[in-house]
Symmetry: C2
Subunit: 195 residues, 2 copies
Amino acid sequence: MAVTVKGEKTREHILKASRKIFIKQGFHNTSVSEIISATGVKKGNLYYHFASKEDLGLAVLEDAKEEFFHFLNTSLSGRDSIARIINSCQAIFNEQKKNNFVGGCLFGNTALEMTDSNPEFASVIQEVFDRWTKELETLLLEASESQQLNSRISPKLLAKTVVATVEGAIMMSRVSKREKDLPDFLTAIKTLLDH
Amino acid sequence: MAVTVKGEKTREHILKASRKIFIKQGFHNTSVSEIISATGVKKGNLYYHFASKEDLGLAVLEDAKEEFFHFLNTSLSGRDSIARIINSCQAIFNEQKKNNFVGGCLFGNTALEMTDSNPEFASVIQEVFDRWTKELETLLLEASESQQLNSRISPKLLAKTVVATVEGAIMMSRVSKREKDLPDFLTAIKTLLDH
């Protein structure tokens, strides 16, 4: 039992430490020896938990996915559906600012680095984009039914566009490192949501 | 003279062939031997033209930048400013479809792979995003002055948002490989431009 708990903790530690390296420098550009030195875990122990670097990469994505949806659901708070969406975008942008616009979004990074070459990675990223879009769509449907939203485009398409704009905004602010870029993008999202 | 022309052609060939590999698999994930085998150029000849892989990567970006702005200016055609912007987004999306949503945007890919670690790469990407935004902003200012555009957000911010949405849309359609995603995003961009 004690061993299991310790094993769980080690696995968790490897996942979080590896995520930091993958966000910072990408998957291909990270060697197993760098992971070993960053985690302080012995090689045998690493391979006990993860069969390969691909296996670890996939587990890191799955773990980050769970954490993201927990974060999203917490940040989707506010007095009405539209405010909840705007607050969640704001919370995502705040995270970028907190990290000084370094690293960006693990899902976006991995989307561009891995989706053409690795269907398993692509499928987790697809799940993140789809579920995120779906959650926003549900809120936009509510807003639309309560006459709060009066957009010429469908809630589904609007939801997809918000996600694309957030991802594009993270990309562009990561390049510019300009603090005022993200509030600007938030204003644009508010306009898109007719807010 | 003949040597210079031949040298120019070789340089050009290396640039175009390397761009294809970098788009497909990223910069870090591409070895010099892969570049040599893809270009069919001898190692000595490659290093005659480019001092290092970084030097080649930077030249590939500069070359792609020139080509992109040529492409953009050709595609920015239409009966008025707003139609010109929409047609340019359509043309960019058509290129993605032509490539079966594989590869995506070299600038977006490099933005996420290299900007945190390589300031020279970041500076070329920044130039692409800034100049692209500026060209759209000029058109939006014209549209605004001629009362064709009636947006609550400034031409500058609107221009930046169109660029972010295009980049996010390329990212998402690259993951989904769904043909209908890009027309959807184009509809959203039209709405944003009040069209």
